[in-house]
């Protein structure tokens, strides 16, 4: 086991870290993180629109359309915000102007969506006496601007910023005289890249009539299927994240930067289904892991924190005491480096196995429908039962499953904890004996 941990640290971790630090992936991660506040706030309007108590639900029912507007303007336009944020980050990483990068990616993304004009249809409908069928002018279909458009947004962003970078590198820019203020000359610098980006996408999308959005969605459909609705989509991320953590690396930050765009798309599909009153399609967006598996933090360590509090080893008890409160709020670094769980050949086994076991149980429970599915992005520092309740929009069985999972993790940790505890007590005794013998001298 010790050799194995060493292997992870020396051989497995560096390529994974390099992948997570890859420039485009980093831009995607940072850009998406910049939209999270909107997604958290927006998704809370879903809870207001569909409260878990029946009498409240009946009371708000007539106003659901109005209540959902903030949700539609945030989560429903997720890819739009992300396109800007990602473009900004990527441009910054090349030391280019961030705002230009953001605006160009936004334009590239929007060029992939054709606006429509349905006034003719609306006029006929109005004549036929249908209420609310007033002409609206040109409209942009929102369907592709939310989670469904996320992969297209990523592609648009990379295309736009790379065009900006390459044209700048070969000096294909409009040069302003030196007297022109910098902010003005910067906007002119983006002129040729903007023209190239818009004309290229216009040609592909409008004249070749090639539906880039649909093409990309079709490519990613199988990936999405595996991630969202298969046992591998649950087990592989759990295994990789715990493996990295047991070598001392923030696993979720590495693996998440690759998987978060997909997880977010899965969540958005669920949220959109909830808003439309349809069954939720996906089992495993990130919230599945957050609330059912990472109870107390990566490795499902809340159960271990409870065991530590009652340890016979003075040291472990002390670690338990200062770890238990943060653990309730899913912060477990004090334990990771205090116990320590990092590079610990004994505790690495339950640290990896417990989340895998409760992951399997949770997958089964959610897939057969005993436990509700996740549609809401609740802040990750909520205690797990409360977070699970909100994130599933009021599934009581999810709360019960959280408690069962804590108990299961305690059972799995227990034998390994005992072995480690025994080792610690022996060390403590040896230390006391050593100090006593020096005192007696």
């Amino acid at each position: 086991m010790e050799k194995f941990l060493k292997w992870i640290e020396e051989k497995f971790m560096p390529p994974m870290a390099r992948l997570a630090e890859q420039r485009h992936l980093r831009a995607i991660r940072d850009g998406i993180i910049s939209t999270l506040s909107l997604i958290i706030v927006g998704s809370f309007f879903l809870i207001i629109a569909f409260p878990p108590v029946k009498s409240w639900a009946d009371a708000v029912a007539p106003n659901v359309g109005k209540i959902l507007i903030p949700f539609r303007m945030t989560m429903g336009l997720m890819a739009l915000y992300a396109a800007y944020g990602m473009g900004y980050s990527l441009a910054k990483s090349y030391k280019l102007d961030g705002v230009s990068g953001g605006v160009l990616s936004l334009a590239a993304f929007l060029m992939m969506t054709i606006p429509v004009n349905v006034d003719g249809v609306l006029k006929k409908a109005a004549e036929a006496g249908i209420q609310g069928a007033n002409p609206i002018g040109w409209a942009l279909p929102m369907g592709n601007l939310g989670g469904a458009g996320m992969f297209a947004a990523i592609l648009a962003m990379i295309f736009a910023v790379e065009v900006l970078r390459i044209l700048k590198k070969y000096n294909v820019t409009l040069k302003m005289p030196e007297q022109v203020p910098e902010s003005v000359s910067r906007s002119f610098e983006a002129l040729i890249p903007a023209a190239v980006i818009i004309v290229v996408l216009w040609f592909i999308r409008v004249w070749l009539n090639f539906d880039i959005q649909k093409f990309i969605m079709d490519i990613f459909a199988p990936v999405k299927g595996v991630a969202g609705n298969s046992i591998w989509g649950v087990l592989v991320p759990i295994f990789l994240i715990t493996l990295l953590w047991s070598a001392g690396i923030h696993g979720a930050s590495v693996i998440g930067s690759v998987l978060r765009p997909i997880w977010l798309v899965l969540l958005e599909e669920n949220a959109a289904a909830l808003a439309a009153g349809q069954p939720l399609p996906n089992i495993a967006p990130e919230q599945f892991f957050q609330w059912l598996v990472w109870i107390g933090g990566a490795g499902a360590t809340l159960g271990l924190a409870i065991l530590l509090c009652f340890s016979k080893s003075e040291y472990l008890k002390k670690v338990g005491r200062f770890s238990i409160i943060p653990a309730i709020f899913n912060i477990n670094e004090p334990m990771m480096f205090g116990v320590p769980l990092v590079m610990n050949p004994i505790l690495a086994i339950p640290f990896i196995v417990a989340p895998l076991v409760i992951g399997i149980i949770s997958y089964i429970a959610v897939s057969i429908g005993i436990v509700g599915r996740f549609a809401i992005n609740a802040p990750w520092t909520l205690p797990a039962p409360i977070g699970a309740y909100f994130a599933t929009n009021g599934s009581i069985s999810a709360v019960i499953l959280v408690i069962i999972n804590i108990l299961i993790s305690m059972v799995i940790y227990y034998p390994f904890f005992k072995v480690y505890e025994k080792k610690m007590i022996e060390e403590e005794k040896a230390q006391i004996a050593a100090t006593e013998s020096t005192l007696n001298m």
Partner: protein, 102 residues
């Protein structure tokens, strides 16, 4: 002395920072210390006038990026020893910090 700590989200480091501050007060060592997540690190470093940046052990895979950012801001940077990254490990980190105090 002014120190900036960076961890993944700025949450766990807040706990550690508090412990380090208490330890510094106990030892009468003048210390101003703040924790941020990886996203805010670069900007904070540029504007904050820090004497030292310290990096939480679980984000050591980003050390190269941090090093570059710290070099740009002209601030020395050091990785915290893993055993220091707990509330009771504060004295160890304080020792690391003190090495840089003039």
């Amino acid at each position: 002395m002014k120190v900036l700590m960076v961890c993944s989200g700025g949450m766990s480091s807040a706990i550690v920072v508090k412990a380090i501050k208490q330890e510094a007060d106990k030892q009468n060592f003048p210390l101003e210390i703040k924790a941020v997540g990886t996203g805010e690190f670069e900007d904070e470093l540029k504007t904050g006038g820090y004497d030292l940046a310290i990096v939480a052990p679980q984000v050591k895979h980003r050390m190269d990026v941090f090093k570059e950012q710290a070099a740009n801001a002209n601030v020395p940077i050091e990785l915290i020893v893993p055993t220091g990254y707990t509330p009771i490990g504060a004295p160890k980190v304080l020792e690391q910090i003190k090495k840089y105090s003039k």
